[in-house]
């Protein structure tokens, strides 16, 4: 992705949080939004 582009992550399974965190680390200039319906991120 290029600087300034938008990444939207839908959901909070075990995948959504790690995807967001690493994407921000690897691409600090990408605009990242996580949208989830649950009150919490799900963990086991």
């Amino acid at each position: 992705m290029k600087n300034g582009e938008k990444l939207v992550i839908v959901g909070c399974s075990g995948s959504g949080g790690p995807a967001a965190m690493l994407a921000k680390k690897l691409m600090p200039e990408v605009d990242i939004t996580v949208i989830r319906k649950e009150e919490f991120f799900i963990v086991r």
Binding site: V10, S13, S15, G17
Partner: protein, 400 residues
Amino acid sequence: MAGLATGQSIVVADKMLESAGIKVVQDEVTKVDPVNKTVTVAEGRVFSYDKLFLATGASAIMPPIEGKDLAGVMTLRGLPDAEKIKSYIAERNAVNIVFIGAGFISMEVASLLVENMERKLNVSIVEFMNRPLPLMLDKDMADVVQAYLEEKGLKIFTGEKAEKIVGNGKVDGVLLGSGKKLDADLVFINVGARANVELAEQIGLEMGRFGIKVNKYQETSNPDILAGGDCVEKINFITKKPTPGRLRGPAVMQGRLAAKRLAGYDIEFPGVLDAGGCKMFDMTVSATGFSEERAAEEGFQSVCATVDSRSKHVMIPGMKPWKIKLIFDKKTRKLIGGQIVSHAVAPAKEIDAVTAFILAGKTIEELTTFTCACNPDISSEPSAEPITVAAEQALQKLKL
């Protein structure tokens, strides 16, 4: 469930994401427009995207059993479910608890409840298959677990079908296929999960038998949409066939892999081995790859070896026994599965070595020279290293 950690302490805090510069929106996505590349949430806000990652997870399956809608019939996927179960048990002073399905969630919750409740509980577990943890263990290994749990007071009914949940407004029992009735103040159903794919279907993404179809880079049939975790269909590493693979390990790795793909890396997801662990009281179970039974179902002729081992050298105080079973493909001689049942926690992680060997395609012969890190306090004696001994046993079986 054990009350050992607060709810807040076990979730990914919004603050962690927000302080990294990620925006967090708590709302339900109701529509994705893949042409205009927008996402709409329930309250009406619209978000545009260049790339979209779907991580919509899975939901517990509620089987079509009579009585499933009675108060006191529950499933567990996340923290809110755990809180609901704990409140129900406390408010109703529940004593009789019946678990339907003897998968790892049932077994862990059952043991945690017995271990942590002040009052004595009457816990029963009903499993249709002939053993507890049927997706992880073969019968010979599961028998050890069952005997241990029965000693701890759990009642385990294998080869039994829960025919009907009975009660008047709220549950008061479970009727089994054999005609036996179990008293129940709470029924906990754990018979698997189903991928949440409604949004993906609405977008028109290609679907597999077990969820959203993705390639080795987590890309869906739409080049701007990636997906990962419980909502996608996995590929089994050994057979290369589709599989549900709904475990947290691959979910996390697939999320991180998707991020790497978006950042320009070409790293492929190797497939899943369904490696997992389960702790019940002081017993820890772990498994990876195929069981002997599953290998047969997949058409493999296997050669297996089971070895008893020790968590420390035999003369060291505190030594605990553990047991490993390895499954090899007779034709290629490659390792294809492993199971560990241990009375200490640490040896159960030796399953990761088994996973690594499967991924590396290691054979019986190669494993006969495997050398473990060894110390009297942390391992068995080198001469009793169970992976090596199991490989030697398999080698001998092939000569017979």
